[in-house]
């Protein structure tokens, strides 16, 4: 790092590239391995239902939190309509699954494997389209105004779902095929994290971070701010739609009630708790906030009190969230090993999330 500017920069860039690509890969392998071992050891059939259900929800929540973090934490657009996009994805994919019919030329299992990713993708695309349509007019707004507009959008989606014939109103859609296995949920969660991580650490991500830091300056630097705001919003909506599809095929039943403001707030909570701008934080917070209500089950009636109290205490003592804007990537492990082997560790400033450049 202390070499000549040019070569030092290039070297730092190369290191950065490795690090940014290695982290998601490492995370993916870690998750895969851990769960494989975990399931094997505990005996598949015993753990299944209950724990599997929680794990699937955790993976879905990871997708939701990380995608909302792209909008709220990285680009700095305060959106609280994520459940709306989720609903679009859930309804579209559920209706597609139910109306796909039986393909005669393959077995039902094979059909499910082919059909499921396709309907999820369709749900994601529908949500992305909704994001585009809502994003273009509302992204001129800033701060609180945008928050209220997105909140309104979420409500509109819910009310539309409540009143359309095709969505079957308040009765909801039942008997959706139960396609969401742990493997699918995990696969989509990992893919989401990898894609969003790479967006954040690309030139595009850097433009988004610049918008968060100072929109006018970003504009003056020649960044097309409208384009990047809409892009971030649309990508976030896409993954929310995919998560909605996964949830629909996990619960096998969806109704407008599942996608109300509370759901949006729950996702926002994960992002804020993990740290706005930290993808690692969102992943961890999604897991913690999915598991916490279950872990606290023994407290019975006091469960939600303790849950809410934990959040209040956390926000008082760590208002920037668990991770702030820091990310856990390979450099953390490197410095850990270096300190273990007694080598001198150069103190490293806290890594700020989404900065993309060489640290």
């Amino acid at each position: 790092m202390e070499t000549q500017t040019t070569t030092g920069l290039e070297k730092a860039k190369a290191v950065e590239k490795w690090r940014t690509h290695l982290f998601p890969a490492g995370l993916a392998i870690l998750i895969l391995l851990n769960i494989l071992i975990f399931m094997e050891h505990l005996g598949f059939s015993i753990v299944s239902r209950y724990y599997k259900g929680i794990l699937i929800l955790a993976f879905i929540n990871i997708i939701l939190a990380v995608s909302l973090n792209l909008i709220n934490g990285i680009t700095g657009l305060f959106s609280i309509g994520h459940a709306g996009f989720m609903a679009v994805g859930a309804y579209v994919s559920a209706l597609l699954s139910l109306n796909m019919g039986r393909w005669e030329f393959v077995s039902p299992q094979v059909q499910a494997v082919i059909q499921f990713p396709l309907v999820l993708l369709a749900g994601g695309l529908a949500a992305a389209l909704a994001g585009l349509v809502i994003g273009i007019p509302t992204l001129r707004l800033r701060g609180d105004y945008l928050a209220i507009a997105t909140l309104g959008f979420g409500e509109i989606i819910r009310v539309v779902a409540l009143n359309l014939n095709i969505t079957r109103g308040a009765r909801g859609i039942a008997s959706i095929p139960n396609y969401t296995s742990l493997w699918w949920a995990q696969l989509f969660a990992v893919v989401t994290v990898v894609i969003i991580w790479n967006i954040v650490h690309s030139n595009h991500g850097r433009a988004m971070v610049a918008i968060r830091e100072d929109e006018i300056a970003a504009e003056a630097m020649g960044i097309n701010t409208t384009y990047y705001k809409v892009l971030s919003f649309t990508i976030g909506a896409f993954f929310a739609g995919v998560a909605g599809g996964l949830l629909a095929h996990h619960l096998t039943f969806i109704s407008p009630k599942a996608f109300d403001v509370l759901k949006s707030i729950e996702i926002l909570l994960m992002v804020v708790l993990g740290g706005l701008g930290s993808i690692t934080g969102s992943v961890i917070a999604a897991i913690v906030l999915t598991a916490l209500p279950e872990v606290l089950r023994f407290l019975q009636a006091y469960r939600m009190v303790i849950y809410a109290g934990t959040l209040v205490v956390l926000m008082i003592f760590r208002p920037q969230g668990l991770f702030g804007r820091a990310e856990v990537d390979l450099t953390v492990f490197k410095s850990f090993f270096r300190s273990r082997t007694g080598e001198e560790v150069t103190s490293r400033p806290e890594k700020r999330g989404g900065n993309g450049g060489s640290a």
Binding site: L9, A210, A220, G222, A359
Partner: protein, 233 residues
Amino acid sequence: MLTVENLHVYYGAIHAIQGISFSVRQGEIVTLIGANGAGKSTILKTISGLLQPREGKILLEGEEISTLAPHQIVARGISQVPEGRRVFPELSVLENLELGAYQRKGKEHLKELEWVFELFPRLEERKNQPAGTLSGGEQQMLAIGRGLMAKPRLLLLDEPSMGLAPLLVKEIFAIIQEINAAGTTILLVEQNAHMALSIAQTGYVLETGEIVLSGSAAELVRNEEVRKAYLGL
């Protein structure tokens, strides 16, 4: 190089710029001086596309640019150092500079980076430090350096002396001259008329959205009204 013709800009109902015309020739330092609220920054924001004029033309080498978006204007070689610096506080100095070269491809910008570090050695010392932790003077240096990273033909400087100690102002103005000598045309907006006129070739005096005086910098410095109103002599 740049010609502004009969420019009218409004903030809602407020008529901020009332029919201004001026021009900037290649290689010059041109300064707009005037008191608070005269409309100096508004003109710069309109040139860089952050504001849209209601009437009038802005021509960059004959091409009308007043209807373009800011990113298109940057692509045509105009780069702005905004008022109040507006560095990206949580990004490092280096990342700030790299964002200045946002539109340039590959490693083209590394030459400018070296130049910026030559002009402002202090930025190189602090390249990994978050920009928000720099002093005011260093932030101004960073803002200017960031503006240069786009390799502009025309650099718009909005109040580079704001809130800086006199010694630092001198340093910054010497560097502005150096940048100009290297071939960048400069349009400088300043309240510090004395400093601005000392480095500029041409000056325009603005009062409540109108140009009341114009001429070579040397003429303006000798002008009685300017001396009384802006130089405190």
